[in-house]
Each structure stands twice: as structure tokens, then as C-alpha cells.
């Protein structure tokens, strides 16, 4: 038994956090249902755990998971008339033929080229940060589905117990489905209107702070690190936009000074008294580079400005 689960665990390590996020985002976008995507992907992973140790890890494990999850999603839609009707109501395809729900799901599934998993995570960001969701819901959804934290870790971040967070996330997913919050890559108009809102959620995650030494049973994830990773992801997903780089610069420059900011008793130290030798020079260097490049660009906005201010603080000469 022990060898089997060890083999299964090894098999699953080929699927990294990135892959999981991309699979989830692609499924959510295809079926316009985050809850369905999560369930189908979880079931596919269970199948992988059951079959890979015996049969060997497939040559393309991501494609295997995608195909399995997609088929599972279609089965789930067929088995649930309500889900089928919802899919039909969304009028995702150009024509809508009444009574065609099952073929509809199949056709959508066929569009998912399992050899090449698209990166739909930008769309998932915008879905999870939609303005009709409440702010705590947006934070929880992005931590759970884009940062890949477990429900327990998200619960710890909010200082609530896991069951409470589970319920909140279930309600948030339900709100997305019932209200008709869109999935899919945002148009440039939507990007213009709502990118700052998306960046704000990442910023709020950052300001929630460090891992707490006290708290619920599971270790509290380092939310600043998660926020930085999310900011890096947004930079990669939107290479032509300035503000994501402005935000990343701001977070890096702020994080760089974290060690020097409090004394051994946890009391804050003013900037002019901070020991700059305790600043992280790599983060400062990266942050400065990003801030300086962003400052000169047309797309500069609020976060770019804030990063420029942080850059000034970080450039203060050593004594």
C-alpha cells in the first residue's frame, strides 16, 4: 500500500501548480462553469492517481488530464438537467438549437485541443475579480483558483475555519453561475475598465501580510509571496500592459524592506532608522528596474506611480 501511494504521489508531481491552474482555467472557460471545472478536474486527478502507478505516467500527462476532465465534465452535464439547461441558456455558440444540450456540451469539448492547452488564466482572473462579486469573495476565489491555495490555506488567510471558507467559496461560485458572470479572455475594452480592479485584489492579498505564527491548524501561507507570484503571472499574461509591472515593482520593493521594518520585538522602525543592510538587494534591483521602465510608459497608472515612490525610498543612499 505504501509503495502504491508513493508511486501515485510521484506520478502527480509531474503536474505542477502552473499546469493545474491552466487546466482549471481552460475547463472553466470551455464550460462556463468554475464549479463544474473544479469537480471534473478533481475526478480526473483521482483517476490519474488510480491508474498511473500501474500503467505508467502518460507521455503527455497534461493532455491526459485535460481529456479525462473534459469527458468527465460532459458526463456531469448530461447527468444534471439543470447544468445542461444553464449551458444552453448561455448561448455560447452562434446558433442555439433547442433540446440540443448534450450535443452542445460535446461540441464544446471537441474545441478543447488536448494537445495544446490554452492559457485561459487571464480570463479566470477577470471572472474571479468581477465587480459584482464582493471583495472578500474575489480575494478568496483568486487565492483558491489562481494562487492554488487549498481551502484550508485560504481559510487561514482570512482567520476563519475551513468549513466557513468552503461555504463562502461555494456561494461565490454559485453567484458566478447564477448571475451570469462571463468567462473568457477579456476584450481590450474590458481590460481598460477593469484591470485596475484585478490588480487591486492582488494588492489586497499582499497587504494581508505575512505568515502568522499563531492561527488555525494549517500553516498560514505567506500571502506576500503569493501576491508576488500572482503579480508575476499577470505580467506574463499581459506583457504589453504597464500597470501589472508597476504593481509587481511596488510589491517587490515593499517586500525587499520587510526584514528591516520591525525590530526584534515586532515594533515598526521608521524608514530613516532602518538598517538597509537587511534589505533584500535582489528584490530591490528587480523592483527598481521594473519601476524605472514602467514610469516612462504611456500605460503608467496608479500602481506605477506608487512603485516610483517606493523606488525613491529604496534608492536612499546608505550611510
Amino acid at each position: 500500500m505504501a509503495t502504491e501511494s508513493a508511486a501515485a504521489a510521484r506520478a502527480l508531481t509531474v503536474i505542477g501548480e502552473e499546469d493545474h491552474g491552466r487546466l482549471l482555467a481552460a475547463l472553466a472557460r470551455t464550460f462556463h462553469d468554475l464549479d463544474l471545472a473544479e469537480e471534473a478536474l478533481a475526478d480526473a486527478i483521482v483517476r490519474a492517481v488510480e491508474t498511473w502507478p500501474g500503467r505508467g505516467v502518460p507521455a503527455n500527462p497534461q493532455a491526459w488530464l485535460m481529456t479525462t476532465a473534459k469527458n468527465r465534465a460532459i458526463d456531469l452535464i448530461r447527468a444534471d438537467a439543470r447544468r445542461a439547461r444553464h449551458l444552453a441558456r448561455l448561448r455560447i455558440e452562434d446558433e442555439r438549437r433547442p433540446g440540443d444540450h448534450e450535443d452542445h456540451a460535446d461540441r464544446l469539448g471537441a474545441d478543447l485541443d488536448s494537445a495544446r492547452i490554452p492559457d485561459d488564466r487571464l480570463g479566470l482572473f477577470f471572472t474571479c475579480a468581477h465587480p459584482t462579486l464582493k471583495e472578500p469573495e474575489r480575494i478568496a476565489l483568486i487565492l483558491r483558483f489562481l494562487a492554488g491555495l487549498s481551502t484550508a490555506e485560504v481559510a487561514a488567510a482570512f482567520l476563519v475555519d475551513t468549513t466557513t471558507m468552503q461555504q463562502r467559496i461555494v456561494r461565490a461560485k454559485k453567484r458566478i453561475t447564477v448571475t451570469g458572470i462571463p468567462f473568457g479572455t477579456p476584450t481590450s475594452e474590458v481590460l481598460g475598465d477593469r484591470l485596475s480592479g484585478v490588480l487591486r485584489v492582488v494588492y489586497l492579498i499582499f497587504t494581508q501580510g505575512f505568515a502568522a505564527t499563531a492561527g488555525p491548524v494549517h500553516a498560514r501561507a505567506d500571502l506576500q509571496e503569493e501576491a508576488i507570484r500572482l503579480a508575476r503571472l499577470l505580467v506574463r499574461l499581459l506583457p504589453d500592459r504597464t500597470e501589472p509591472r508597476g504593481l509587481l515593482a511596488l510589491l517587490l520593493l515593499t517586500r525587499a524592506r520587510a526584514e528591516a521594518r520591525v525590530d526584534e520585538h515586532g515594533r515598526p522602525i521608521p524608514l530613516e532608522h532602518q538598517d538597509r543592510r537587511r534589505w533584500d538587494s535582489r528584490l530591490i534591483a528587480e523592483g527598481l528596474g521594473l519601476a524605472q521602465a514602467a514610469a516612462g510608459e504611456q500605460g503608467a497608472g496608479a500602481y506605477t506611480v506608487q512603485s516610483a515612490i517606493a523606488a525613491v525610498h529604496a534608492e536612499v543612499r546608505r550611510d
Binding site: 448561455l90 459584482t132 448571475t179 451570469g180 462571463p182
Partner: protein, 113 residues
């Protein structure tokens, strides 16, 4: 997806057509616009709350009262039921209605029962 756009008025506000109230021609213009878009699948316009009749029950007895209802600060003026792809489309239409300026518009997805 089908959404109901409920036009909610404030009881304290001036009536449509009166001084300080909404101009009926604005509502007609909006009605033309939204109808031309081909998305309206239902809806209704209501006579004012002063013509409303409330039916409820108190201590096992039916209670029938006529408007206006002083204790209510708002009332339903009318609705459009529209079929659009996402909530953002519904919000876009609601913003364009004069009802959003006088009182508010509540958007509710139609339930699937």
C-alpha cells in the same frame, strides 16, 4: 441568459411628467432603443402605487388594503425581461435606462425552476 430589469421608484420622488420628476419621453426613447436591440422577451409597465391593492394575512384573517402605501419607501414601476449573454450586458442596459437615475434598477436573473 434571461434577466429581469426591475424599475424601482422612490415614493418620495415627484411623479413622471411632474416638475422634478422623470420625463416620460426619456422612458419612451429608452423603450425604443431596447426594443430595437431585439433582446426584450417580456416585461410590463405598471400604474402607480396609489392604484395598488395589497393582499396579505394577519392573525388568520385576509387583509386587503389600497395604496398609496406610506410605509413603503419604494415601489415597482415596471420591468423589462431581456435575454443577453452575460450580466455585464444586462448592467449596460440598466445604466442606459432613465430608471437608473430616478430610483434604481434591480437586475435579477430569472430562476430556472
Amino acid at each position: 441568459m434571461k434577466y429581469a430589469l426591475l424599475l424601482m421608484g422612490r415614493t418620495a420622488d415627484a411623479d413622471c411628467g411632474e416638475d422634478g420628476g422623470p420625463d416620460p419621453s426619456e422612458f419612451m426613447r429608452f423603450d425604443e432603443e431596447i426594443s430595437a436591440a431585439g433582446i426584450v422577451v417580456g416585461g410590463f409597465a405598471l400604474e402607480g402605487p396609489e392604484h395598488g391593492v395589497r393582499v396579505s394575512e394577519a392573525e388568520g384573517q385576509a387583509l386587503v388594503t389600497s395604496g398609496p402605501f406610506a410605509e413603503s419607501s419604494e415601489f415597482v414601476g415596471g420591468s423589462y425581461v431581456i435575454e443577453v449573454p452575460t450580466i455585464d450586458d444586462a448592467i449596460g442596459w440598466a445604466k442606459r435606462s432613465p430608471g437608473a437615475r430616478f430610483g434604481h434598477i434591480e437586475i435579477r436573473p430569472l430562476a430556472d425552476y
